[in-house]
């Protein structure tokens, strides 16, 4: 059986979650790798969008940032940033990938501050387009390294809304997008209970013990009655992926 890093595992799980023909907002790093990997493996008609103004670019070398000219090379169009973000509001974006410093049981994400914003322990860079993706993308996938300090009961600040307080709170807020459909970590896959909208463990990755997930989650995590085990990355999936990041800029060992 082949070995792989947590990052490689998450990228491949992300890739498998994507369907052909989808329009995807994917930021630099693992999400972008997932999207490109899906294009090479099973989704040739999938298109990637970048906030800066890139539409279906051809990505030869992985950009440092998805906001630089390199990342939009060979795009079919170069719209204004406001138009890129409005595509979300009109329903054109099928999938948005997100991550964050804190993620809570209802899929809310914090990328603004540790502690209260009025008097932050740490001021973080902020939303960028994350709030807009969380608000209006047709569905959101979160990719995150699984650790207690990230998976918290309640985020200090809701930068990007998941299901807010759970239940119908998201719909009542008037939000358009479907919200977080799936959380992909290096330990397993988490989804949300249709009623409570609380994060639930639905699958473990090969060789991961359920206890480890609970240890590394900062809140009481329900487990699905039919807990599954994910299929390990295949040699082909890993070969294709490693071809995309030969310098191992994103696929390095350990945390990501």
């Amino acid at each position: 059986m082949s070995t792989y890093t947590p990052a490689e595992l998450c990228v491949i799980m992300g890739s498998r979650s994507l369907k052909d023909g989808q329009i995807v907002f994917a930021g630099a790093g693992l999400p972008l790798l997932s999207a490109i990997h899906a294009q090479k493996m099973h989704a040739p008609g999938l298109a990637i969008l970048f906030e800066v103004g890139g539409v279906a670019p051809r990505i030869e070398s992985l950009p440092r940032s998805t906001n630089e000219a390199r990342s939009v090379r060979r795009s079919v169009a170069t719209p204004a940033t406001v138009d890129m973000m409005l595509y979300l509001q009109r329903g054109f974006v099928d999938v948005g990938f997100l991550g964050g410093a804190q993620i809570d049981r209802h899929g809310n994400i914090n990328s603004s501050c540790v502690g209260p914003l009025e008097n932050p322990k740490v001021r973080l860079p902020g939303s960028g387009g994350a709030n807009d993706i969380a608000s209006s993308a047709n569905r959101v996938f979160i990719i995150s390294y699984h650790e207690k300090r990230r998976f918290v009961d309640k985020v200090d600040f809701i930068t990007s809304p998941g299901f807010i307080d759970g239940g119908q709170a998201r719909e009542e807020a008037g939000l358009l997008g479907g919200g977080v459909e799936k959380v992909i970590t290096n330990l397993g896959i988490l989804e949300f209970d249709p009623q409570t909208r609380s994060m639930t463990l639905v699958a473990l990755h090969p060789g991961i013990a359920q206890e480890e997930v609970h240890e590394k989650t900062g809140f009481e995590l329900p487990v699905s009655d039919n807990l599954e085990e994910t299929l390990a990355p295949s040699e082909e999936e890993l070969d294709v992926l490693r071809g995309l990041d030969q310098e191992r800029r994103y696929l390095k060992k350990g945390d990501f």
Binding site: A80, V82, G128, S135, T159
Partner: protein, 331 residues
């Protein structure tokens, strides 16, 4: 929003106190077809302390670095800057004292240099120095300003804490019953924008993503357009579809080759990654972050006699290499 009106804003919490003033500013300015060429110094001299300024580009792409460089050299104070995503230039503006407040969706260096320690030291001391909106939220502030309306509805930021911290009003659409948020417009006193080409009248052609520059050009009461290359008006008339900044928005045109350096200009040159890397790493490694940036400003901003001398500090090899990597035929 000159200094005085800005104060009113702080009092009322409304960034659009003076919808009518901003309208009147455009009504009264000379928008006609005339030679608008100015020196970088003359152009930046139009900016008053306390002004609200929008910065073109996004993160480190097509940043009008030359205009910011001159703003810092002219020791402007108490400015509020709007930018979709703030990058290194945010550090420079804070440390130089030019920036009293950043209004942006994201503030750090390049992705690879982590969270900006400079932003942290300012925003953790005084949270009001960094006003955060979502990227669409910030985009719509300028869009509404460009459209000549005082606010615009959106579905973004509903249910988030940004809704509260940005002080956004709820709105129920009378036709559909939909719940939305109203983003107040902004009409910056001055927009600084860098284009690949422009004519002497201010017809600007931006290639690659225009980011929010087209919105900013219309929203702002005055526009300073720096450009890689001034071209003949007949070239503009041969390619009218490529003109995205119309002359009547523009008040000053400055030909400034490599005007985004060490940031990039689409189709012309890539970022000077090596130099940015040195800066980013140097900042990470230094004990005294503020001191490090002050040293950088002294060396790169204050000491050079002019912008060409500033560029000389990056060196011919850097300019040639980034041009070789960045140029494409179109612009």
């Amino acid at each position: 929003m000159n200094g005085q009106n800005q104060d009113e804003q702080e009092q009322t919490g409304s960034p659009n106190m003076n919808y009518r003033n901003s309208h009147q500013a455009v009504v009264e300015k000379n928008k006609g077809i005339r030679d608008k060429r100015k020196t970088l110094q003359e152009s930046v001299a139009m900016i008053q302390d306390g002004d609200h300024i929008s910065i073109g580009g996004l993160q480190y792409t097509r940043t009008p670095v030359g205009a910011l460089w001159e703003i810092i050299r002219q020791k402007k104070q108490g400015l509020t800057f709007y930018k979709p995503l703030m990058s290194f230039e945010g550090d420079w503006l804070f440390v130089s004292g030019a920036m009293a407040k950043a209004v942006t969706s994201w503030f750090s260096g390049g992705v690879t240099w982590g969270v900006s320690k400079i932003m942290r030291s300012f925003a953790e001391r005084d949270p009001n120095t960094f006003e955060e909106l979502s990227l669409l939220g910030l985009s719509l502030k300028l869009k509404a300003g460009a459209m000549g309306i005082p606010c615009i509805p959106t579905k973004s930021m509903l249910g988030s804490d940004l809704e509260k911290t940005a002080g956004l009003e709820r709105f129920t659409c009378p036709y559909s019953g939909e719940e939305l948020l109203l983003v107040p417009a902004v009409n910056p006193d001055v927009a600084i924008i860098h284009s690949q080409v422009a004519d002497i009248y201010g017809n600007g052609q931006i290639f690659g993503p225009p980011c929010l520059d087209i919105e900013a050009a219309k929203a702002a009461n005055k526009v300073i357009l720096t450009t890689e290359q001034i071209v003949d008006n007949e070239h503009i008339r041969d390619t009218p579809n490529s003109t995205n900044i119309p002359f009547f928005c523009v008040d000053a045109v400055v030909e400034l080759p490599f005007g985004c350096y060490p940031h990039e200009c689409y189709g012309r040159y890539e970022p000077a990654y090596e130099k940015l890397g040195e800066y980013g790493q140097g900042l990470l490694d230094s004990e005294d972050k503020i001191g490090f940036v002050e040293g950088f400003l002294e060396q790169y901003f204050y000491q050079p006699a002019d912008f060409e001398e500033y560029l000389s500090m990056f060196g011919v090899k850097s300019l040639l290499e980034t041009t070789r990597l960045g140029r494409i035929w179109q612009p």
